[in-house]
Amino acid sequence: MSTRLATGGRRIDRTKPLSFTFDGSRLTGFAGDTLASALLANDRMLVGRSFKYHRPRGIVAAGVEEPNALVNLGTGARHEPNQRATTTALFDGLVATPQNVWPSLDHDIGAVNGLFAPALAAGFYYKMFLYPRAFWKHVYEPFIRRSAGLGRAPDPAHDDPDRYEHFHAFCDVLVAGGGVAGLQAALVAGRAGRRVLLLEQTTDWGGRAPVDGGTLDGLTVDDWIGRAVAELTSRPNVRLRTGVMVAGVYDHGYVLGYETVADHTPGAAAPRHRLWRIRATQIISATGAIERPLSFAGNDIPGVMLASAVRDYIAHYAVSPGDRVVVVTNNDDAYRTALAVHRAGLAVPVILDARPSGGGALMAEARAAGLRVETGRAIAKVQGGKRVTGVTICAQAGEGAVLDTIACDVVAMSGGWSPVVHLWSHCGGKLIWDDARALFRPDATRPPTDQTGAGFVTCAGGANGAMTLAEVMADAGGAAAPQVAAPTEAPLAPVWLMPQGAGVKLRSKAWLDFQNDVKVSDVQLAAREGYQSVEHAKRYTTLGMATDQGKLSNINGLAILSDALGQPIPQTGTTTFRPPYAPISMGAIGGAARGDVFQPVRRTCLYDWHEAAGAHWEPVGQWRRPYCYPRAGETHADAVRREITATRTSLGLLDASTLGKLVVKGADAGKFLDLIYTNMMSTLPVGRCRYGLMCNENGFLIDDGVVARLSDDTFLCHTTTGGADRIYAHMEDWLQTEWFDLQVYVANVTEHWAQFAVVGPNARRVLENLGGMDGSNAALPHMNWAAGTLGGVTARVFRISFSGELSYEIAVPASQGRAFWDMLLAAGAAFDATPYGTEALHVMRAEKGFIMIGDETDGTVIPQDLGLDWAISRKKADFIGKRGQERMRMQDPDRWKLVGLETLDGSVIPDGAYAVDAGRNANGQRNTQGRVTSTYHSPTLGRGIAMGLVRRGPDRMGEVIEFPKLDGSSVKARIVSPVFYDPKGEKQDA
């Protein structure tokens, strides 16, 4: 059994007991424990079930590489699945439940899957569930959904009660990893005066060196770490922090760090997680190495652990994983575990060293301690079900004939170490296979490169392939490396399968990926079935696709694949290392962006008034605009009808503040606008307004609006609401990169002005009531503007109309917008001044046949398609889009062009409906000859009206075309002029 030892434990504080529950049982641990160490201290080795076969799963590792010990953490709103017990700090009141168990951890009905294991081999989804087709929906999928999947998704009824945040940091040198290599690298950079940020993912400095022994500059490793941390802390140019995992490295030295701030203090005021967004000139990856499992039959039975983890639990947490520990290895390092177990007073019945001649000094030390060492030996099979009970021993060189059986409750395995090359690889650093050490390590000649072509990531220590303390310090420390005293180690012997001649029965019980249930036999099957690419084999077998992303399984898996393909390991290569290094929370990624500040909501100066008036909001980009103002008992459609009728018969008021307003000034302003717009702007007289179109280089319409000439060298360009920022950038782009010789400056004054449309037959009376400016036809005819003072407020009045009615758009400074709106309401009260929203605006412009960017245009429409030829100058030598519009396809007479559509039965054509044509296309779909772009019920005309693009539409006036509806019926419409209302334009000139 696993238990707490009476003494020791460098991370725990025995004076601070903590209470927690696992699977409903109340258990205790100590401050400093991880959930995994506390579970082991309570003899909880079995912690979950595997993904596919529901095999019992125990704790394998002591760190971030743990594949099995994933739990549901927390309850209610704070419940979160797939939390790694080995990296979860224990806290008082922690509640965890096992995952993937049904009905219970001890008695899992899904384990019956194991009986069908041959059917669930590699590619089982593809093979098994294809036939009969109907079985997928009713038999296979429900079964898979019930038995597969890890963890339980958080209850969508609960909002995450915690907060999260980002933090931007900058440094010259980012050191990822606070082991002895990282500390040494930080010391070197710090002493050189560089601005250093050192981040360590655990709560502890020094990595695994304190557990592994040796001395540095004559000090114990712990003492050296204390000295190094003290020096770093004292340096003003160095910052160091634990609890932050460097999750990813990106272009231009951008690095993401993941800080777990308050996971262990739920409900605290602190943000739960913090995402560090770092710019580093140089990144030193000192992320160490991860021990590899060995592939032998039954290596997934709870109690089989990484050798390093066994001694970590003893040293850090004073937890004994078991009373009798068999050590199996292909290298010297695992002897440290045997010695640690022995020194803890526990039994090591045998050390199985797969190397025929065994190891070096550490083996001698073990033998001197009286431990039995068997060289050239392997595990034939692990005995046990929910816990290891023993092992059978065989010759590594053989096929598994049993030589001996030994009782034990833990197997400590070591297949060598793999450098954590993730951060090196995220941005394109290449790897090289080190045959002597049997590992992939960074190829220093092919680093990830920055914008100058120089490498910006280097590796130090274990991450660079250095394996012994002496190598690590030499690699990280350069000339300043401390003096190291540690045993020399004999070379390891690569062992990818144990025993090497294991038959199919053993191979199909030798796990590579514990979480996803991928065995040696699965990878070999994939190879036989033709999967030669490691990326394909990964996806076919799901090797390395679990939440641990193959930290333990990848190298072993590709070695097996290489062997099956009969090619050397470097020829097979690795799968791609992608960020994040380990899963990070969605909350951290979102940061503060949630709730009210999930996205910016842009508000005009009337926002509060609109809300108080009961506006139904329409999002327009990030703006909120009133769609309509429904009164009690009104539907939205009712409100829109009322607003339109009031406007057309008396007086409507619209908040048009969101319209873009760009001031364009300079000696070349007219010349510039002639290039930007399709029509001529340089001839516009001061005081006049002109409607203009803007196209992109391809000739497609991108924006429209009214241009007013403010003075000889100054224009005011109105854009669409969504176009303000985009068109401003468009103008700056052309001015800064193409026409830098033009004397033109642009300023975006959109938000300086509140702008209100005063619309309807009584509009002029409002101006008269306010007083100060003359709105008569003589003083201010249609398409003119004037500056002045209205009711005491500085104003610009534009006589422009998007509704077809007599209309003034009045701009006042935004700080006075609300006050001026109140004045408008008062001045218009006698005429039943009716605020109207965007839908009324849309319907009224459609009644007049005015186009709307985004409705009649979709990025493939040229002005000529919309009958706007009159707004395209033929006199100008050039404008943006001119050449594009001259292309053959744009001149095609068969292009779909704008027309009005009048339904024969008066109904409204569904939005987006297509007009069908005779025949079918190559896909068997009915041919089309046009589509609806805007469609409304017109209260003015009392019928459905629409605009649409129809093949040769303007040549086909009076023809009836047919629009199928989703319900199978169709609606017929006559092609008519798009101007339904006041075609002569008498109202706007009234």
Binding site: H166, P271, R277, A592, V597, R603, Y745, G792, A819
Partner: protein, 189 residues
């Protein structure tokens, strides 16, 4: 002047840092060749301000000049004086290519006050700015959360920040969340 109001109408919130509405402020955008003696002379003569250096501000009470880009400065002044300032600059620079325009109501001003390290942390949580290198008299045009902003440090305990008027509430709310107690990083100072 009829009932001119700022977007945040005097809102204030306190946490590790106090965030408050900076009220109405006159702002005039001056675009021109900042290196030209004529533009600098006009700025000095009309606004009484020296030309700010790269990413720097020149401040004098409630007046100031902010470097916005190589061809743009923002002049700060009392709100009521902005139109006259734009007109006077336009007159002073007649014949020199430039653009002077009153943009006072296009933006909202927020004031952040508090301990220097808390101020720096607050901004570092929202803006991709190297706050180690940010000093009194510096300005950065950057983004705050998801919107554009600019901020400058007037003294070691005060930062002024401008954003577009329509985003004022978002910025205020975002800062309110960010300055909440319990979020100390301990990165500065």
């Amino acid at each position: 002047m009829h009932d001119a109001v700022s977007a945040l109408a005097g809102a204030t919130v306190s946490g590790r840092v106090t965030v408050s509405d900076g009220g109405l402020r006159g702002m005039v955008t001056l675009r021109g060749d900042l290196a030209s003696p004529a533009v600098a002379a006009a700025l000095q003569a009309v606004a009484g301000m020296a030309m700010p250096g790269l990413r720097r501000v020149v401040l004098n009470g409630d007046r100031g000049a902010l470097w916005m880009s190589p061809d743009e400065v923002m002049i700060l002044l009392p709100h009521r004086d902005a139109d006259a300032m734009a007109t006077a600059l336009t007159a002073a620079l007649a014949g020199t290519h430039h653009l002077a325009v009153n943009v006072s109501d296009a933006r909202a001003v927020l004031r952040l006050t508090g301990p220097d390290d808390a101020l720096r942390e607050t901004l570092a949580k929202l803006a991709p700015v190297d706050m180690d290198l940010f000093a009194v008299g510096d300005i950065r045009r950057t983004r705050l959360g998801q919107v554009a902003c600019a901020f400058w440090m007037t003294d070691s305990g005060t930062v002024e920040l401008i954003c577009f008027r329509s985003a004022a509430r978002y910025v205020f709310d975002l800062l309110s969340v960010t300055v909440a107690e319990g979020g100390a990083v301990g990165h500065f100072g």
